[in-house]
C-alpha cells in the first residue's frame, strides 16, 4: 500500500506541475486559456451561419492521407473558419463504410455533404437521390447525368502541368526529365500528359530535344508505384528515372511521391511537386522544388459549400482551370533567382494563351 500511495503522490505532483497554469474557459469570457488549439476558434469569421452544417466523407485513404482527402478536408476546415458554419466529418475505413457514413451524416443534419474520389461516386449518387434536400459535391469525379443536387468537382490539372513541363524543359541540363504516377487512373495521368506536352511544346518552340522518361503520351503508358502510401516504391522509381538520365522529376503519387523527393535529394537533382505547394506541404524538400502543380481541391470544396450557403448551388460540374484559379503553378520559391526572367515571361505568356484558348492542352 505504501508503494501505491507513493506512486499516487508522484503522479499527482507531476500532474499538478504539468497542468497548474490552465484556466477554465467559462471563468473569463475571453479566450485566455493560453491553449493554442482553442485560439484557432477565436479568429473572427467573415460571416456567421451557425445553423448551416457542412460535412465530408473521405474515401478509404482517410483524411490524413497527405493527398487529395486531406486537401479537400482543408477546404471544409477553411469554410468553417470563413463562414462560421458547423462541420462534421466521417472517415471511411473501407468501401463498406461509404453508404453508412453518408447516411449517418444525412441524419446528423448536414446541408451540404462533400465526398472525395471516384470510389464514392455510386454511393454519393444513391445518397443524393435519397436525400433531395441535401446538396452533395464530389471531388475528382463527374457524372454524365448528375442528379439535381450533386456537383462534380473536376480539375484541368494538365494546364498547370503543361507549364511545369515547359519549365522543366527549360531548366534541365541533361535534356531528360522524368515523371511517375501513383496509379494509372485519369486523375493521375492527366498531370503526366500535361507535363509531357509542355516539354513537347518547349521542344517545338526552342527547337530543342528534351526527352520525357516515365510517361509515354501516345501509348498512355509509363511508370507507376501502384501505391499512394509506400514511399520506398516512390524512391526506387525516382532512382530508376534518375539512372535513365533525368535531372528533374515530377512524382504524381501522393505520399509515395515523398520517397521520390528523397531520391532526388540524394542524387542532388531537382523536382516538381503536385497537388499542393510543396514548399508548404513538404517544406523539408523546398530547396529541390522548381515549382509545384497546384490542384485547388480545397478552394473548390469551399466554393461549393459557399454556394449552398448562399442558395446558388447547382448541379453544373465545376472544372478548376488556370482561368478561374482552380489550378495553378506555384511560386518558384528558392529557384526564383535561378530561373531567368525570359523563361518566367514565356510561362506567363503560355498561361495567358492557355486561358485564351490559343493553346489547347488536352
Amino acid at each position: 500500500m505504501k508503494k501505491t500511495a507513493r506512486i499516487a503522490v508522484a503522479l499527482s505532483l507531476a500532474a499538478l506541475a504539468l497542468t497548474s497554469c490552465g484556466e477554465r474557459p467559462s471563468d473569463n469570457d475571453s479566450d485566455a486559456s493560453g491553449d493554442p488549439s482553442s485560439s484557432e476558434s477565436s479568429t473572427t469569421p467573415k460571416e456567421s451561419h451557425p445553423d448551416f452544417k457542412a460535412c465530408m466523407v473521405s474515401d478509404s485513404g482517410g483524411f490524413d492521407d497527405k493527398s487529395f482527402n486531406q486537401t479537400s478536408h482543408d477546404g471544409l476546415v477553411k469554410a468553417k473558419e470563413d463562414y462560421g458554419i458547423q462541420t462534421a466529418e466521417a472517415e471511411s475505413k473501407s468501401d463498406s463504410d461509404y453508404a453508412s457514413n453518408l447516411e449517418n451524416l444525412a441524419k446528423a443534419g448536414c446541408k451540404h455533404i462533400s465526398t472525395v474520389g471516384f470510389l464514392l461516386g455510386d454511393a454519393t449518387e444513391a445518397a443524393a437521390k435519397k436525400h433531395k434536400k441535401i446538396d452533395y459535391s464530389i471531388v475528382d469525379f463527374g457524372y454524365e447525368k448528375p442528379a439535381k443536387n450533386v456537383k462534380g468537382l473536376g480539375f484541368a490539372t494538365d494546364q498547370p502541368a503543361f507549364l511545369a513541363g515547359y519549365l522543366a524543359a527549360s531548366q534541365t541540363e541533361s535534356q531528360i526529365v522524368g515523371t511517375f504516377g501513383g496509379a494509372k487512373i485519369p486523375t493521375v495521368t492527366i498531370f503526366m500528359d500535361g507535363f509531357a506536352k509542355g516539354v513537347d511544346y518547349y521542344n517545338q518552340e526552342k527547337d530543342a530535344d528534351v526527352k520525357v522518361v516515365g510517361w509515354d503520351v501516345d501509348k498512355q503508358n509509363g511508370s507507376f508505384t501502384d501505391d499512394f502510401e509506400n514511399q520506398s516504391k516512390g524512391q526506387s522509381l525516382a532512382e530508376a528515372l534518375i539512372r535513365q538520365g533525368a535531372d528533374i522529376v515530377m512524382p504524381v503519387a501522393g505520399p509515395a511521391g515523398l520517397g521520390g523527393l528523397q531520391a532526388v535529394k540524394q542524387a542532388d537533382k531537382k523536382a516538381i511537386w503536385v497537388d499542393t505547394d510543396g514548399c508548404v506541404s513538404a517544406a523539408e524538400y523546398c530547396d529541390l522544388l522548381l515549382s509545384s502543380v497546384m490542384k485547388g481541391m480545397d478552394v473548390a470544396v469551399e466554393d461549393a459549400i459557399k454556394s449552398s450557403i448562399d442558395g446558388t448551388f447547382t448541379n453544373e460540374p465545376y472544372t478548376g482551370t488556370l482561368e478561374n484559379g482552380g489550378v495553378s503553378l506555384a511560386p518558384y520559391h528558392e529557384f526564383d533567382g535561378d530561373i531567368d526572367q525570359a523563361t518566367k515571361d514565356e510561362i506567363e505568356d503560355l498561361k495567358a494563351k492557355i486561358i485564351s484558348g490559343e493553346i489547347t492542352v488536352s
Partner: protein
C-alpha cells in the same frame, strides 16, 4: 491422437460436470510443453493432450475459462478504448488544463464523451432492426474468411492468404455476375460458385506448394496475396476493358456492380448470404468433428509425423485444407459482390483477409468462435463509423485499437488474469498462446 474430445463435447457437456478443476495440474503440465507443430486442435486450450482423464469435464471448465478470458479481454479493451477516447477529445484535454481548480469537469466531460461514443456505437450496431442488419451484412464476410483461417489453423497451417483468396473470389464472382447472360435463377448460383472456386483454387496453390515442395505456407500465401492484389487485380481493373464499366471513357479502375439478378435476395435488409455464412460454419463444424477428413486434418495439425506414420497422406490433407479454406474465403468474397453489390476496385477487399486472422484467433480456431468473433468485429466496424458522426466526434481508429487490444489480451491470457486478478494456476491455455509456445 487425442483430439476426440475437443470442441463438441465441450459445448455439449452439462454444467453439472463443470466444477472439474481437479485435474487442472494435469492440464497445465501437458499444455505447458506445447508439442512441436501443434498449432491446431487446441481451441480452448483444453484438454486435448491427455484424454484419459475426464475429458468432458475438463473441456467444459476450460470452455468456461475461455469465455471468461475472452469476456475479460473484451471488457479491458473497451475500458482502454474509453480512456483513449476521453484523452483524445479536445474538451477533455481542455478541462485537464484546470484539473486542480475544477476536477469534476474532467470527469463529467470524459464520462460524456465515453457514453456518447459507446452509445452511438451500440445504437448503430444493435439499436434497431436496420442497425442489426448492417451488422450482420458486415459480419458475413468476416465470418466466412475467419472460418477459412480457423480451418487451416486446425491442420497446423497458418493461412495468411485469405486476402488473396478473397480478391480472386471477388474477381471471379463479379466478372461472372456482370458479364454472363444467364437467367436469374442460374446467374446468382453461378456467380457465387465462381467466387468460391476461384478462392479454392488460389488456396489450393499454397497447399500444393507445401505438399509438393515443403514451401512454408506463410511465405507462399503472403506472396500469393501480393500476386492477387498487385498483379491480377491491378491488371484486370487497370488494363482489361472487360472488367471496367461499359461506356466509361475515363477508364476508371472499377468494375460495375453485379445486376440485381446476381444479388442475394434481401429480407429485412439482411441479404441471404448471411445465412450461407452461418451454414458454412455448421459445415465446417461437421467437417472438423464428424468427418474422416476432419479427423485427418486435426491429426495432421496435432502431429504430422505421427499422422504420416499412421498412414495418412499429409500432402493430401494440406492441399484439401487450403482448398477448403480458400473456398470459404471465396464465399466471403461473394458477400461483398453478391451481397453488398459492391463494385470491384483496388480497395474493395480492404483488410478483410487480415481481419479474418484476428477473427480466427479470437474465435480460438473454432467455427462457433469464428461466428461470434465475426459478429463482434462486424458490430464494431459498423458502430465505429457512427462514433465519429456522434456529437463526441470520436475517431473511428479507436475501434481498430479496441479490436487489436481484444486480440492482444486473448493472446496473453496471463496478463488479463493478472489485470483482473483472476488468479489461476493454469498457464498458457488458449489457442493463441499455444501458437506462441508451439
Amino acid at each position: 491422437m487425442s483430439e476426440k474430445d475437443d470442441k463438441v463435447p465441450a459445448e455439449e457437456s452439462s454444467p453439472a460436470e463443470s466444477p472439474a478443476r481437479t485435474d487442472g495440474p494435469t492440464a497445465s503440465s501437458t499444455s505447458g510443453e506445447g508439442e512441436p507443430g501443434a498449432k491446431s486442435g487446441s481451441e480452448d486450450a483444453t484438454a486435448t493432450k491427455s484424454p484419459e482423464t475426464k475429458p468432458a469435464g475438463r473441456s467444459s471448465s476450460a470452455l468456461v475459462d475461455t469465455v471468461l478470458t475472452t469476456a475479460a479481454a473484451i471488457f479491458l479493451a473497451l475500458v482502454i478504448g474509453a480512456v483513449l477516447m476521453a484523452l483524445s477529445n479536445q474538451e477533455v484535454i481542455d478541462s485537464m488544463g484546470y484539473f486542480f481548480v475544477y476536477p469534476w469537469d474532467f470527469f463529467t466531460r470524459s464520462f460524456d464523451v465515453v457514453t456518447t461514443s459507446y452509445g452511438a456505437l451500440l445504437k448503430a450496431s444493435l439499436g434497431s432492426g436496420e442497425a442489426v442488419s448492417h451488422t450482420l451484412n458486415r459480419a458475413a464476410p468476416l465470418i466466412c474468411a475467419g472460418l477459412g483461417v480457423s480451418l487451416a489453423f486446425r491442420s497446423g497451417l497458418f493461412n495468411i492468404g485469405a486476402q488473396g483468396q478473397i480478391i480472386l473470389g471477388t474477381l471471379a464472382a463479379s466478372y461472372v455476375g456482370f458479364t454472363w447472360d444467364l437467367p436469374a435463377v442460374l446467374l446468382l448460383p453461378t456467380s457465387v460458385l465462381a467466387g468460391i472456386l476461384a478462392g479454392a483454387l488460389w488456396g489450393a496453390i499454397a497447399g500444393l506448394l507445401k505438399a509438393a515442395t515443403g514451401a512454408h505456407e506463410v511465405i507462399s500465401t503472403i506472396m500469393l496475396n501480393s500476386i492477387a492484389a498487385s498483379g491480377i487485380l491491378a491488371y484486370a481493373l487497370g488494363e482489361m476493358k472487360s472488367f471496367q464499366r461499359p461506356g466509361d471513357e475515363l477508364g476508371l479502375p472499377q468494375s460495375p456492380p453485379v445486376p440485381d439478378s446476381a444479388a442475394f435476395p434481401e429480407v429485412f435488409g439482411v441479404h441471404l448470404g448471411v445465412l450461407l455464412a452461418i451454414l458454412a460454419a455448421v459445415v465446417v463444424w461437421w467437417l472438423l468433428t464428424r468427418s474422416t477428413l476432419g479427423f485427418e486434418l486435426r491429426s495432421v495439425g496435432a502431429n504430422p509425423d505421427a499422422s504420416r506414420t499412421a498412414g495418412m497422406s499429409t500432402g493430401k490433407v494440406f492441399i484439401l485444407t487450403m482448398a477448403i479454406a480458400g473456398a470459404l474465403s471465396g464465399l466471403a468474397a461473394t458477400m461483398l459482390i453478391n451481397g453488398d453489390q459492391a463494385s470491384n476496385n483496388a480497395s474493395l477487399v480492404g483488410t478483410i483477409g487480415f481481419d479474418a486472422i484476428t477473427v480466427a484467433l479470437l474465435g480460438r480456431g473454432t467455427p462457433l468462435g469464428s461466428v461470434l468473433a465475426g459478429l463482434l468485429f462486424g458490430a464494431l466496424a459498423v458502430g465505429g463509423g457512427a462514433m465519429q458522426t456522434s456529437s463526441a466526434g470520436t475517431a473511428p481508429e479507436i475501434v481498430q485499437v479496441v479490436q487489436g487490444l481484444i486480440v492482444l489480451f486473448v493472446a496473453a491470457p496471463a496478463a488479463v488474469r493478472w489485470l483482473v486478478r483472476q488468479r489461476r494456476k493454469e498457464p498458457t491455455d488458449t489457442f493463441a498462446a499455444k501458437e506462441a509456445t508451439a
